[in-house]
């Protein structure tokens, strides 16, 4: 019997409540703006102007849904983190506002918005004001290519499907660093300055393993396009990049063939053409992709300044680092951006390593289950919603469900890390980054380059 089962139950309740509270509005907004309004507009024999309006509405859907999503999500993540940490550290956590603390962060947000906005004397007011914006804007922009990937390339979100996908995300992820230096320098506070400089040093060091790990995954996949990367991994966990970037695709196909009582040896031969060398290469690929995931998570933790890499805002040394002098709305923006970044980082990991919106069950396993009948029944029952109102797109719906599960599990993992580890010291952090992670990422890169040609995997 788990000793703190009631606490876990309450946490689960909070998660369920808030996920509904986040995604129902997002869903409603995207449907209303992207489907319903254009449908009405186009239903009345529109001229070219009205058609253009409808097009613009459709085009604006992703950004609108992101704008609805981000504040709600940050509210949830703060509460999630606080309650989960309380669970790890034998405390209660926020439990007063609303039923069982459900609305705590909403109240906090209102409080922050009403607080006085202070610009310290001697601060460079323009840069001081710009810093939170520069910190926050890239998170909105950077999430866009991921949107297409996690909604299974739904037509409404397909506009965000850029050919440079992951590169776009990485580029926008490198901008917040500037904001941190700006905030640190313009605050006219020595602690802030040191925090800003630390942020610069740390982000530059950890960007290398981060980018190298993702580049290696792109190398496995043979494309930068996140949608393509996500689609490659369809068909169960054996195809996911975490298992060698498709190194086990042959196994998947062989099992499917064997289940159909056919000869599976040629399938194996087709996927692993070099015999034993291919199998060794497949094992190397699986090993490397695990290392890559570790490198990515470490680098990402450092990029978004979470414990054990939260040196730029180390509370016991630098008071609060770069955001010491911030209050009110500006601080709220910093806070919002931090949690949004955590979400984005988990999203990228989901898409790049865990198959995006793919369900973990292999196709041959699903074929054993009597799902087709259920699907057909549900499809005809909900036909009005699906086909006429276009309220639900079944593929996107299931993709979203799986993405939510994966992403928030990764967030939970990040919280667990935060709840366990002490903080590095800055020189140890640099050592760790440059002497361990960078060589490791280079080695993984080389191994993947060589191992990949021996196995027929995603990139082919």
């Amino acid at each position: 019997m788990i000793p703190n089962a009631p606490e876990i139950g309450k946490l689960a309740f909070i998660i369920a409540f808030w996920i509904c509270a986040i995604f129902l509005p997002v869903w409603a907004v995207s449907w209303a703006v992207g489907v319903f309004l254009p449908m009405i507009i186009e239903g009345q024999n529109p001229g070219p102007e009205l058609a253009l309006v409808a097009d613009i509405l459709r085009t604006a859907t992703p950004i609108l849904s992101v704008l609805v999503f981000i504040p709600l999500n940050a509210m949830f993540m703060v509460l999630y983190e606080r309650r989960a940490l309380a669970l790890f550290t034998v405390r209660m956590g926020p439990n007063r506002v609303g039923p069982d603390g459900l609305l705590q962060t909403a109240a906090d947000a209102v409080k922050l918005l009403l607080k006085e906005d202070i610009t310290p004397r001697g601060a460079d007011a323009v840069i001081f004001t710009l810093a939170p914006i520069v910190f926050f804007a890239p998170s909105i922009i950077g999430i866009l290519p991921i949107l297409a990937a996690i909604t299974n390339n739904h037509p409404l979100f397909a506009i965000t499907n850029l050919p440079t996908g992951i590169f776009f995300v990485l580029a926008s992820a490198s901008i917040p660093l500037v904001a941190l230096v700006m905030a640190g320098w313009s605050s006219n506070n020595k602690y802030s300055l040191v925090g800003g400089l630390r942020a610069a040093a740390q982000a530059i060091s950890y960007e290398i393993p981060l980018v190298l790990s993702l580049v290696t995954v792109c190398l496995m996949a043979g494309t930068l396009d996140v949608v393509k990367i996500a689609q490659q991994q369809d068909g169960g966990f054996l195809n996911w990049n975490i298992l060698g970037g498709g190194a086990l695709r042959g196994l998947d196909a062989a099992i499917a063939t064997a289940l159909k009582n056919q000869d599976w040896a040629p399938v194996i031969q087709a996927f692993y053409p070099y015999g034993a060398a291919s199998f060794v290469a497949a094992i190397v690929l699986i090993f490397c992709s695990h290392i890559l995931l570790g490198l990515y998570l470490t680098g990402a933790c450092a990029e978004i300044n979470r414990i054990p890499f939260d040196l730029p805002e180390a509370e016991s040394e630098l008071v609060s680092g770069y955001n010491t002098e911030y209050s009110g709305m500006k601080f709220a923006i910093f806070f919002l951006a931090e949690f949004t970044n955590l979400f984005i980082v988990s999203c990228i990991a989901t898409v790049m390593f865990f198959g995006g919106g793919d369900n973990p069950f292999p196709q041959w396993f699903l074929d054993q289950l009597p799902l087709a009948g259920i699907q057909a029944g549900l499809g005809s029952a909900l036909s009005f919603l699906i086909n006429d109102m276009r309220l639900v797109d079944p593929d996107t719906f299931w993709a979203a469900i799986w993405v939510i599960i994966k992403v928030y599990s990764l967030v939970f993992f990040a919280i667990l890390i935060r709840g366990t580890l002490p903080r590095f010291r800055i020189d140890q952090l640099m050592d760790f980054g440059w002497k361990r992670l960078v060589p490791l990422s280079l080695i993984a890169f080389l191994l993947v380059v060589f191992a990949r040609v021996l196995v027929v995997s995603h990139g082919y």
Partner: protein, 203 residues
């Protein structure tokens, strides 16, 4: 991808593109003037990041997506480093001495003689002259624009070119970077600590 192409059509719409171009370029010009004339070198570093952001916006307009992103990635980090080093090298106490580098004022406060003034106008003359020269060169050539469109997926074209036709310069570039890296490390490395003779304080 279809919708991307649609948006692409919107942006390529001549009027929209012109408007965007002027918006971005005027922003870039003002920002770059800010870079060279702001008294605080750190702030001008931050402004420089704005310039580069604007320039990468222009790259996006020119459908060079990869380069726009590379620009952001390299310069966001690179210029921040410049700023940080400027921060290290700026002595707050002596900042006042250098802050008047933009003002045409003689040291003792007397009116500036025409010759001194000419010296101060010198840089402006160089700037104007260089613009004029280049502009003249541009206008004295008739450009034949190709009617084709750039394919939106030109990352592949770039990658192919870099690894086939241009692989030698690519390798040279990497050698150059390595050399620069080593050189920079050698230059910036701390000198070997000179032995300090401890005198005076005894335990």
């Amino acid at each position: 991808m279809e919708q991307y192409m649609m948006l692409h059509d919107y942006v390529s719409n001549a009027a929209a593109e012109t408007a965007l171009f002027y918006l971005i370029s005027i922003f870039a010009i003002i920002m770059s003037v800010g870079v060279i004339s702001d008294r605080n070198v750190i702030r001008s570093g931050f402004i420089l990041i704005g310039v580069f952001g604007a320039i990468s916006g222009l790259f996006l307009l020119l459908q060079a997506q990869f380069l726009a992103l590379a620009q952001v990635m390299i310069y966001a980090v690179g210029i921040t480093l410049v700023v940080v080093i400027a921060l290290m090298l700026t002595n707050p106490r002596s900042e006042k001495d250098t802050s008047y580098e933009n003002e045409p004022v003689s040291k003792d406060g007397s009116p500036i003689s025409p010759f001194q003034r000419l010296r101060l106008i010198g840089p402006a003359f160089v700037g104007i002259l260089s613009f004029f020269t280049i502009y003249t060169a541009i206008r004295s050539e008739s450009w034949i624009a190709s009617g084709e469109q750039v394919s939106p997926d030109n990352v592949r074209v770039l990658g192919t070119a870099l690894t086939t036709t241009y692989s030698l310069p690519f390798e040279f570039a990497s050698v150059l970077l390595l050399a620069a890296l080593i050189g920079a490390i050698m230059l910036a490395k701390a000198e070997r600590p000179t032995p300090v003779i401890e005198i005076g304080i005894d335990e």
